[in-house]
């Protein structure tokens, strides 16, 4: 059990490390060094940067030194919470990102809950009532869920809600609440707006999970112990839920580790279509404007968030599945 946690923790650290390198590469990639870009940006907006200041900045970020030294200096500053300054907004990156990171997390977690909440009962139902009308209907919906990229789904839903109800469905807050300080009213407003984007985001993953759950449960239902349980006179509900469902849950739970990165990823593009105040639109804008500190930081934070989320889901998996808990002992 300790071995499992350690292994997963190491893997998480490795991933974060790799993501940090990639984020730094992203910051570095545009032609010229970023102090040049920074100075150009500042002078185009009217303010002057003296040669001494530029030299200071260069020294601060170790420009002109080998890649690993620059990376090291950047990392050292990150660890102390200094992510640099956004060139476009002229404010510290952390300030620009603000609540957006938490809203991204909230959206992804809600989508995860929706995925579980829908996939589990539908998967069980489809397996138990195999080849019934509802099974076929769910399979069809599932295939559409897989085939329609979630940003397309968001577009189509936006269009039809506009045509039928004349209202826009975008955003996470109503107009008057968007800038209001946090309070119960704002939380309630958020709760009202959250379900639609969460469901749109969740549909693709749900469709896949339903199919996995259905296939796993079908395998389990054919096993002799199910016949034994039934012959023993157990009620149908207990026969199914008590043993086969628990056994079928295992690969289902291990898939969650890949579901979370998928959802975080998807939230970027869905947010852009629906105009949600998550880090998604900010990232794309930053990349287009080559505001590299902001972009790199967002990629890094999303990566860290994903790794932490995945680690937590691993712990959940361990809690659900005794085989993993005892495997290592």
């Amino acid at each position: 059990m300790i071995a499992f946690i350690t292994r997963r923790l190491l893997l998480g650290v490795m991933t974060v490390w790799l993501i940090s390198i990639l984020s730094f590469v992203i910051i570095q990639l545009p032609p010229g060094d970023f102090v040049d870009a920074y100075i150009a940006q500042l002078s185009s907006s009217g303010s002057q940067v003296s040669a001494a200041e530029a030299e200071n900045l260069r020294k601060l970020y170790g420009l002109g030194e080998p890649f690993y030294v620059q990376y090291g200096k950047w990392l050292a500053r990150i660890v102390t919470g200094d992510f640099g300054e956004s060139m476009e907004w002229r404010r510290p990156v952390t300030e620009v990102i603000g609540d957006r990171l938490w809203l991204t997390l909230l959206l992804s977690l809600s989508a995860l809950l929706v995925t579980w909440g829908l996939a589990l009962p539908i998967g069980i139902f489809s397996a138990v009532r195999q080849y019934s009308f509802a099974d076929y209907a769910f399979t069809l919906v599932g295939f559409i869920g897989i085939a329609v990229p979630n940003f397309l789904l968001a577009l189509v839903i936006m269009y039809f809600s506009f045509v039928w109800f004349g209202a826009s469905v975008g955003g996470l807050f109503s107009a008057e609440m968007a800038l209001a300080p946090w309070g119960w009213d704002k939380v309630w407003d958020l709760m009202k707006h959250l379900p639609l984007p969460a469901v749109i985001l969740a549909l693709g993953g749900t469709a896949q999970l339903i199919r996995i759950m259905r296939a796993n449960l079908l395998d389990e239902l054919r096993r002799p112990y199910v016949v034994t349980a039934r012959a023993k006179g157990l009620s149908e509900f207990r026969t199914i839920v008590k043993y086969p469902v628990r056994a079928a849950l295992n690969p289902f739970a291990s898939n969650i580790a890949y579901l979370f990165p998928y959802l975080v990823s998807g939230s970027i593009i869905v947010s852009i279509v629906l105009g949600l105040p998550t880090v998604g639109p900010l990232l794309v804008k930053a990349l287009v404007a080559q505001d590299m500190f902001l972009a790199g930081t967002i990629v890094l934070l999303l990566g860290v968030m994903t790794v932490v989320g995945t680690f937590i889901s691993d712990l959940v998996l361990m809690w659900v599945d005794p085989r993993i808990r005892h495997q290592m002992d």
Partner: protein, 367 residues
Amino acid sequence: MAQIDSEKYAVATQLQLTWWRFRRHRLAMVSMVLLFACYLLAAFADFLATTDPHATDARTSYIAPQGIHLFDDDGSLRPHVYGIKGVRDMKTFKLIYTIDPSRKVYIEFFGQGYEYDLFGLIPTRVHLMTLKDAERGDGIYLLGTDLLGRDLWSRLMVATRVSLTIGLVGVTISLFLGVLLGGISAVYGGIVDTVIQRTIEVIRSMPTIPLWLGLAAALPNDWSVLQIYFAITIIISLLAWTDLARVVRGKFLALKEEDFVMAAELAGASQGRIIFRHMLPSFASHIIAAVSLALPAMIISETSLSFLGLGLRPPAISWGILLQDAQNIQTLALAPWLLISAIPVVVVILAFNFLGDGLRDAADPYG
């Protein structure tokens, strides 16, 4: 299996068995034919286009789709469309161009249109349909036009070619990486296997879209359309080979224990011969299935990136770029036909999924 007699069944090759089994999967068969048709369409994209997909004209901005009228007034078969006319909007005094049903423009088959290279090789001007005696702004506009007055049908044809081939190129790269690394992982085992497997796990637990976006945004602005095309393909494949590598490794490890591999080893076959002559044929169908399931993911990736404006860039045309025009609700309310580009995306992805499912079922002909 009734129509195939048992003797034929017993001596059939792996490929024949797979094919017989695959044929029974109706949906997969239909999907295969459909996809074949799509690739055929893509090969003749310019021939099927009716107007130059890059040509802009302020007069033809947001013309609604119009069908082809087959019969003339006297009942004779003379396919035609209507011309366009300018109407002064009395509120804004702007000149607005709309369809003018009083003026017919006849369609000519195999007529001369804009110049293009058939299959990228043969310069020609022949198109399936062109207009005879057209005035400026007249067009067939089967799917309407966009803001800049470009014909959506012609653009969709060219976009289909780009998006479908980007999937193929990307999958080829992923397949190469996947088979190579998956194979190495399985054959050598030990520390090499551990390193490759951990790398796969690390890549799989990263949120892909932000990384793609970051890497794609860093591509230099002065690159040509073709360079960007290949760079995007490589970026997508670099994160997409992991599934294929897992399939290859799993199959390799399973087959290693099979009796026929042991037999070949005892007969003194070289390792290369065992891998390519004995093992590869028996999991080739699994790889094909994995590839056909990886293709739609590739296509979605390209579409998403281009949709966000960080994938292929205009003047390139792909499904993502077409959908980019349909991004905001104001535009959609004005020109809902822009959303038509979403239909081929969904149909092709669905077809690839069915095909992949059919192939996966057929890949185990003895199962």
